[in-house]
Amino acid sequence: MKKTLMIIAGIVGLTAASEAQFAGINGGIMLGGGFMEDPDKGYGFLQLRGTVYEDDAVSHTLFLEVLGHSDDAELEFLGLTGVPFVENGEINFTNFTLNYELEAKLSSAISFYAGAGGGIERVSLDDAFDFSVDSDSNFVGQAFAGFRAKLGKSFFAQVGIRHLWRDDFSLLADQFLVEDTTAYELSIGFRF
């Protein structure tokens, strides 16, 4: 059911984005990755973008972003004899956020961008079989900035920094402390 809903949401979002220019909105898609300071982990993200206003100096863009990263975990089981057993697991974090971005054009090829957004961070605990053991959902907020370079007519690349505000999360009977973190990233995009 979840997979079906995700696919439907993706189809609706992409169809809307691809048809957006006919309503005065230019669509775009961006794929990238980066590295967080705390925890020391890499992440990847996908953005579906719609530019609502653009002139020679600035542009205003709204985008939906899915950002994910994972972390190793140790799961403890209690055997029938009362002896605990430990095995490897994985905690997956997926952020679904809505964001606003302001782009200031420094030249015909280079621009500066900055923005902010918020949404939900979905936390899922999986065992060695990728079987979901427990999950949690919390608020996540972010602010970001960076420089963007045009690569031809439709493609662009950017280097940026973002700060993430994340809530603590609960898995099984345990509450985990989460620190806000800064992240560094590279990405490439396509406008249509």
């Binding site: 060695a128 079989f129 999360f169 345990d174 402390l177 989460v178």
Partner: protein, 190 residues
């Protein structure tokens, strides 16, 4: 003349949209699919998994290996070319349904196993709620089944199992839910 109306530009736009659309849908589908919640436990083909298994049904596909630390009240379905090894911390009420050519433990070296040979482990796994006996039923008490112990690489005879009482066991108590979790990146709150 408006550039957008040129046929080559229109074709290019259509193709790029189709490619973007297909790629993005595939991306989203793959993201969600990898974490699909399911009650079935399967060792992915070509992978090796180490695990303590409690009260579960596990399918071990061809080319995959499951190393079990401790096993209690489980049923393993092992395809030819699949390997079920380990059990260093013990075995209790464990049944193995193995195809010929599956690598399974030597029954003489450890107690707690009951081993059967099946024609199609994958089919036995998918039909297990209607065709296989509960894990806590002694096979010698049932007159409707024939047993073929397998030692080492599976050999045996074709057989069928049937149990009319499906309430003897169920999904409600099969889950091996962990009691706690530790993460190297996140501290627990006191």
């Amino acid at each position: 003349m408006n550039k957008m109306s040129e046929p080559s530009v229109l074709i290019s736009m259509c193709v790029s949209r189709i490619v973007l659309f297909a790629g993005s849908v595939f991306f989203l589908a793959s993201c969600s699919g990898s974490r699909t919640v399911s009650a079935d436990l399967k060792v992915p083909s070509g992978q090796m998994v180490r695990k303590t298994v409690l009260e579960s049904d596990v399918l071990i596909a061809k080319g995959s290996t499951l190393e079990v630390f401790y096993s209690s009240r489980n049923r393993y379905f092992v395809e030819a070319g699949g390997a079920l090894v380990g059990f260093k911390r013990g075995v209790n009420q464990t049944k193995i349904y193995a195809e010929k050519g599956a690598l399974i433990p030597n029954i003489e070296s450890q107690t707690g196993f009951t081993i059967y040979t099946v024609k199609d482990a994958s089919k036995s796994y998918s039909d297990r709620y209607k065709e296989l006996v509960p894990v806590n039923v002694n096979p010698s008490n049932s007159s409707s089944m024939r047993l073929a112990p397998v030692i080492g690489v599976g050999v045996g005879v074709e057989q069928e199992f049937w149990d009319n009482d499906r309430n003897d066991w169920g999904r409600g108590d099969r889950s091996s839910r962990p009691t706690s979790v530790r993460s190297s990146s996140y501290e627990k709150k006191d």
